[in-house]
């Protein structure tokens, strides 16, 4: 795959004394669905706006399909931007909103055909004569998407594409958006603060914090093998345990147990990550505690989530989260509060956070 379709090179940007982006480098492939994930103030929207041409970077270049677009005006860029607020024109109806970007270069008949096609693609044919204010949030989102896609952009930028939708509609739209992107093979770059949204939409995603890209990889890789403490905490639920080398093994003071690691450590002291669903939970009567990769603790809190039950288990002076899949349909299956249990895990499940 051509990895140089969109190249972001040494991009930095400050607003006054406030450094918003620091030396950002990213390569995005053609037809990739790429997510920029970060909390507010991480610089993700500024980066997207630089790609759209609404902000000029202080340093660096943006190259799209071999063309340097860094200094091009938004109206000269072969890309489109979908705004979080959708920015639909309130004085125009749906048809004219969709046709807005192609009125210049097309005949009336071509416009008609193009609008019909895009409306059909997005299931909004019945809305063409409506005013923007008469549309629901989901319908507005489709019109905003259609208004961009009708221009057949090389790159589509989406600012929080699903943030304005309610939860049920969001998951439905998520699926539609991925299907649509795979069908049209247009490169999508989107910004979100919602980790679930980033994981479900992205082929690859970048985690941003304070104007830096901490990590850039597939959602699976970032979830399973995060490289930094921040990422591990930011994506999903994380049990972070500090361990240090003691004789030949690793020991956690907080848990009071030994860890067996598959890998050698560079440092004598480090943090490890143990995802809550990797921990197996068993009744204390069934098993004897081993001194490695398991501990016994007391259930402090439990919340039943349907397919899973989440337990907070206290051991020594630490609380560990455990997600236990509800295999049995018997409702008595769950462990009650206060029960002593044994937790154990495979040693491959332990991820070392080196920095």
């Amino acid at each position: 795959m051509d990895n140089n379709f969109l190249v972001i090179e040494n991009i930095s940007k400050s607003f006054g004394d406030n450094k918003v982006l620091e030396n950002i480098n990213l390569n995005i492939s053609k037809s990739e669905f790429f997510g920029l994930l970060g909390s507010s103030g991480s610089g993700k929207t500024t980066l997207l706006r630089i790609l759209g041409g609404f902000e000029k970077p202080d340093t660096g270049r943006v190259i799209l399909d071999g063309m340097d677009i860094t200094n091009l005006e938004p109206f000269d860029r072969p890309l489109n931007y979908m705004f979080q607020s959708y920015a639909l024109f309130p004085h125009l109806n749906v048809f004219n909103n969709l046709a807005f970007g192609i009125k210049e270069n097309f005949t009336q008949k071509e416009i008609e055909i193009n609008v019909r096609n895009i409306a059909e693609l997005l299931y909004i044919e019945h809305l063409l004569n409506r005013r923007i204010k008469q549309l629901s949030g989901g319908e507005q989102q489709r019109v905003a998407l259609g208004r961009c896609l009708i221009k057949k952009p090389k790159l589509l930028l989406l600012d929080e594409p699903l943030a304005a939708l309610d939860k049920k509609l969001r998951s439905k739209t998520q699926l539609e958006l991925t299907t649509l992107q795979k069908k049209l093979k247009i490169t999508f770059v989107f910004v979100t603060h919602d980790q679930e949204e980033a994981m479900s939409l992205s082929d690859r995603m970048a985690i941003m914090k304070n104007g830096l890209i901490l990590e850039c990889s597939s959602p699976e890789e970032i979830y399973e093998n995060p490289k930094s403490l921040y990422t591990a905490n930011f994506i999903g639920i994380a049990n972070i345990i500090e361990i240090y080398k003691k004789d030949k093994n690793f020991y956690s003071d907080n848990l009071g147990i030994n860890f067996k690691l598959n890998k050698e450590l560079k440092n004598t002291k480090t943090n490890i990550l143990l995802r809550p669903e990797k921990i197996k939970i068993q009744s204390i009567n069934n098993l004897k505690t081993s001194s490695f990769n398991s501990f016994s603790g007391e259930i402090l809190e439990k919340s039943y989530l349907g397919s899973f039950t989440r337990y907070e288990i206290k051991i020594n002076n630490m609380i560990i989260s455990v997600l236990d899949q509800n295999f049995n349909s018997n409702s008595n299956y769950n462990f009650p509060k206060g029960e002593k249990v044994i937790c154990s895990w495979e040693s491959e499940s332990i991820k070392i956070l080196e920095d």
Binding site: G52, G53, F54, E73, P74, F75, R77, N80, Y81, F83, S85, A87, L88, F89, P90, H91, F100, G101, E104, R131, I132, K133, R147, C148, K151
Partner: protein
């Protein structure tokens, strides 16, 4: 119960105001305009005479008189043209200013708004008089132009229609800027970016997005300037010359110089009808249009 009564009174107070200070005076003007003039105080006859029963003593001569003499119609047209030109200038200057104010950051915005309003804090007459001092033959502007060698003799800047237009634009500009600012302030700047993103340059974005969405502000500001300028008396009187006669001046002369109250009232009443009727019709059509277009 007491509150309800207060609410009712409160809601109707603008109408009460309108009746007391607009419709009643208008009715009095109309009454005078159809009476017969005579020497005396007041300089017209009563419209009801009790002479062996009730006799109605009215005439439409005054209307026939002002509409048959181009002196009156011409001065009204002059005022309309003056108002139109001034409104266009106010719009051309006021729109960019209002847009700039509405899109600047909050601190700068407040400073600029105060600067727009500051002239209202001083006397209107004083400000117009100041322009007289600036523009007169040995005034500041001419002295500067002479010393810079741009002209060899003082320019006649005062006492012509250009001085009048300048004075009016200067005086009425805030009345254009403030309502425009009110609308542009609510303008979603993302719409401008969206338009550019969809391939329209600045020029086309202005005409396809900014202008259509500013229509309510433009209408409000233009009416606020146009209507009072038609009747404007002081600025043409102080800065204007004898090259053009304006409606306000003619009215003044009819009332106070010729003491032709019925004629002046006919002139005033006709002016109001000619001016207000189209505006009322326009407002009705416009509010229907804007409701349909949801602006």
């Amino acid at each position: 119960m007491k509150n309800k009564l207060f609410e009712k009174y409160f809601v109707f107070s603008p109408y009460f105001w309108l009746v007391l200070f607009f419709f009643i005076p208008l009715a009095i003007i109309f009454k005078i305009s159809i009476s017969i003039s005579e020497w005396g105080m007041p300089p017209y006859q009563d419209i009801f005479l009790f002479d062996n029963g009730l006799k109605i003593n009215t005439t439409f001569e005054n209307y026939v008189y002002i509409f048959s003499d181009f002196y009156y119609i011409g001065s009204f047209l002059n005022s309309m043209i003056l108002a139109l030109i001034s409104t266009i200038f106010c719009l051309l200057i006021g729109f960019p200013l209002a847009f700039y104010i509405a899109t600047s950051n909050i601190r700068l915005r407040n400073i600029l708004l105060v600067l727009v309003v500051i002239p209202f804090w001083s006397s209107f007459l004083l400000r117009v008089y100041a322009w007289k001092i600036i523009l007169q033959n040995n005034g500041i502007l001419n002295v500067i132009l002479l010393n810079l060698g741009i002209t060899s003799e003082p320019l006649q800047l005062l006492y012509n229609q250009y001085a009048v237009i300048m004075g009016i634009v200067y005086t009425y500009l805030p009345l254009m800027i403030l309502p425009l600012y009110g609308y542009l302030n609510k303008f979603d700047l993302n719409l401008i970016e969206a338009s550019k993103d969809l391939g329209l340059n600045r020029f086309k974005t202005f005409f396809k997005v900014i202008l259509p969405l500013s229509v309510p502000g433009i209408v409000a500001g233009s009416l606020l300037v146009f209507i009072p300028v038609v009747g404007e008396f002081i600025i043409p009187e102080m800065l204007g010359g004898s090259d053009r006669l304006y409606y306000g001046k003619i009215l003044w002369e009819e009332f106070f110089v010729n003491r032709n109250w019925p004629g002046a009232s006919a002139l005033a009443f006709s002016g109001i009808i000619i001016l207000v009727l189209p505006i009322v019709i326009f407002q009705i059509l416009y509010s229907r249009w804007s409701q349909k277009n949801e602006i």
